[in-house]
């Protein structure tokens, strides 16, 4: 895989930027590849549209924007509506299945869609905040973009001290679900 472009979309407070940070960090620091992260968010801190663009590549990355992602990760209905049309044909859609309904919007041809009840998993783990870690694990499991080891190191390196175990459990929950997941 020479170059993978990922867009993660959701709402402020869902950990969208942190998810992008972990993917980028896993690739560029713990997997020896190149990565760029571009973030866009509204002026409000919570509840507004928020998205991260991550490019992972074997060579240095010039143009850093993601226009037609290979992988689209969506955590909100609005993000799905906004970004689904831009998904590359034959690309992958990873979505939070309790927040997003595929019926809302058609997908480009050949797209494989994978759903996960990530919010519920996070709640079962005791903290709704770890939703983003479940999603990152899901991305790791479905895409096999990088080694699990690289992702886990990036998780540990990115979360507040003392919360590593919880976050790793959330990551693994998403990862295991992802490895066994079949597209709808």
């Amino acid at each position: 895989m020479g170059r993978t472009e990922i867009r993660i979309g959701g709402l402020g407070g869902q950990g969208v930027i942190l998810s992008g940070m972990i993917v980028g960090k896993a690739a560029s620091i713990f997997a020896g590849r190149h990565a760029t992260l571009i973030q866009a968010f509204g002026p409000e801190a919570r509840g507004s549209a928020c998205s991260a663009q991550v490019t992972v590549a074997d060579a240095p990355i010039g143009y850093p924007y993601v226009k037609n992602p290979d992988v689209l990760v969506v955590l909100s209905r609005d993000a799905y509506a906004q970004f689904a049309p831009s998904l590359k044909p034959d690309g992958m859609l990873l979505y939070e299945e309790e927040m997003v309904s595929l019926a809302d919007h058609p997908l480009p041809p050949g797209v494989k869609a994978y759903g996960i009840p990530a919010t519920r998993f996070a709640e079962e783990l005791g903290r709704r905040l770890v939703l983003s870690m479940v999603m990152v694990g899901f991305v790791a499991g479905v895409t096999r973009l990088l080694t699990v080891d690289a992702f886990e190191k990036a998780v540990v390196d990115s979360v507040p001290r003392g919360t590593e175990d919880l976050n790793l459990r959330a990551f693994r929950k998403g990862y295991e679900f992802g490895t066994g997941c079949v597209p709808v």
């Binding site: 940070m21 980028g24 960090k25 560029s28 992260l37 571009i38 990355i61 010039g62 143009y63 850093p64």
Partner: protein
């Protein structure tokens, strides 16, 4: 000399350009920052405010950019390496103190994370439209140096050079980022302190009574002291003689202003840093800087794939403008293509240096995002004729 290890966060990091720029400043020895919050530059001072208590130094959030831009000049005369950080509207407020720094030869680094203008413009979106303002914005004749990083790694690396240049030449050095570079996150490798070369202030070796604050050495730059060293200096924004005393006559003005400009203009070639790629046999040369150079590189690759002979010059040092290099190339290329996130600023310099011997094709962009590579490719095609 080598960097003070207390300011160097050695290791591999995943940082955005704003944070990396702050780390560069700390590694370079910056120990006093005065700033005022303004998007998209604020993260630079936020990080400095959180890091400096453990490094040993001071951050103060001033009441406005006018205050910030002169507090750092006071900080420099107190003996510290200093920086202030802003974006377009703040930069506009700082202009008088750019002139004061130039005439008093105060080493200072000014970070401008460029956003769309004029006025409040596009606070959260990029532009490269302050390039002429930093060159010409304060009144009178003077020279500055401006660097243009194209990645968070360069925000770190070039920031160290920015401080070194400010100390070497005693001019304001502008660090011309943009919103994309400032907020884009990439890997940043920070080397150990003993592998970072920093330039110490040009402290005089003369004793009080012998020292003349504005008696320049052969390179046109005077040595410096700080307040409290016993030299009883007088530093003024008025035209001054070698003692630093006001001297308001045409001869003193000519002597001072020529030296202030010559110390940079005569070292234009030594200061230049141009990253060239395939310009030797090119018909068309793309001249770019900052974030735009990354997009331009993609366009150049596409043009070459289409069989065009295209070279790429990336200006790391934008000011002083490397007109010598453009002039050398102008007779043997068809055209220069200049993409930039403004409607024609550095393109004017290219045009001037090419002096009619090659065309200059402007690929202007009003800002708010970066070019599409296709826009630049279209310009290359047009230039190749």
């Amino acid at each position: 000399m080598k960097a003070d290890p207390s300011g160097v966060l050695t290791g591999m990091h995943f940082l955005d350009g704003d944070h990396a720029a702050c780390e560069g400043a700390l590694a370079a020895g910056c120990r006093f920052v005065a700033g005022y919050p303004i998007t998209p530059s604020t993260e630079v001072v936020e990080r400095f405010a959180s890091r400096i208590p453990m490094v040993g130094g001071v951050f103060i959030q001033m009441e406005d950019e006018i205050a910030s831009s002169i507090a750092v000049l006071g900080g420099a005369w107190g003996g510290k390496k200093v920086m202030t950080v802003t974006s377009g509207p703040g930069l506009s407020l700082m202009m008088e103190h750019i002139g004061l720094a130039a005439i008093t030869e105060t080493p200072v680094v000014i970070v401008d994370v460029q956003r769309g203008g004029p006025s409040t413009g596009l606070p959260t979106l990029p532009a490269q439209a302050d390039m002429m303002q930093v060159k010409w914005g304060s009144h009178g004749d003077y020279e500055i140096i401006a660097l243009s990083p194209a990645s968070p790694q360069e925000c770190f690396d070039l920031m160290i050079r920015a401080f070194n240049l400010a100390e070497t030449w005693r001019v304001p050095v502008f660090f011309m980022m943009d919103e994309v570079i400032g907020h884009m996150t990439e890997r940043v490798d920070i080397p150990p302190a003993d592998r970072i070369d920093v330039v110490e202030r040009r402290w005089t070796t003369k004793k009080p009574g012998e020292y003349r604050p504005y008696a320049a050495g052969p390179d046109g730059v005077p040595d410096m002291v700080k307040a409290g060293d016993g030299h009883r200096i007088h530093i003024t924004g008025l035209t001054h003689d070698e003692r630093g005393y006001p001297a308001m006559n045409p001869a003193a003005q000519d002597k001072l202003v020529r030296r202030l400009t010559d110390k940079i203009r005569k070292n234009r070639e030594a200061l230049a840093d141009i990253r060239e790629d395939g310009v030797e046999d090119a018909d068309v040369v793309v001249v770019s800087f900052g974030i735009t150079s990354r997009v331009a590189a993609a366009a150049v690759d596409s043009a070459r794939a289409a069989g065009l002979k295209v070279g790429h010059m990336r200006l790391v040092v934008v000011w002083p403008f490397p007109e010598h290099r453009i002039a050398q190339m102008a007779p043997r290329v068809k055209a220069f293509v200049v993409p930039e996130l403004n409607l024609g600023q550095i393109a004017l310099e290219v045009e001037r240096a090419a002096a009619g011997r090659a065309r200059t094709v402007r690929i202007g962009h009003a800002g708010g995002t970066v070019h599409e590579p296709e826009q630049i490719l279209a310009g290359i095609r047009e230039a190749a004729g």
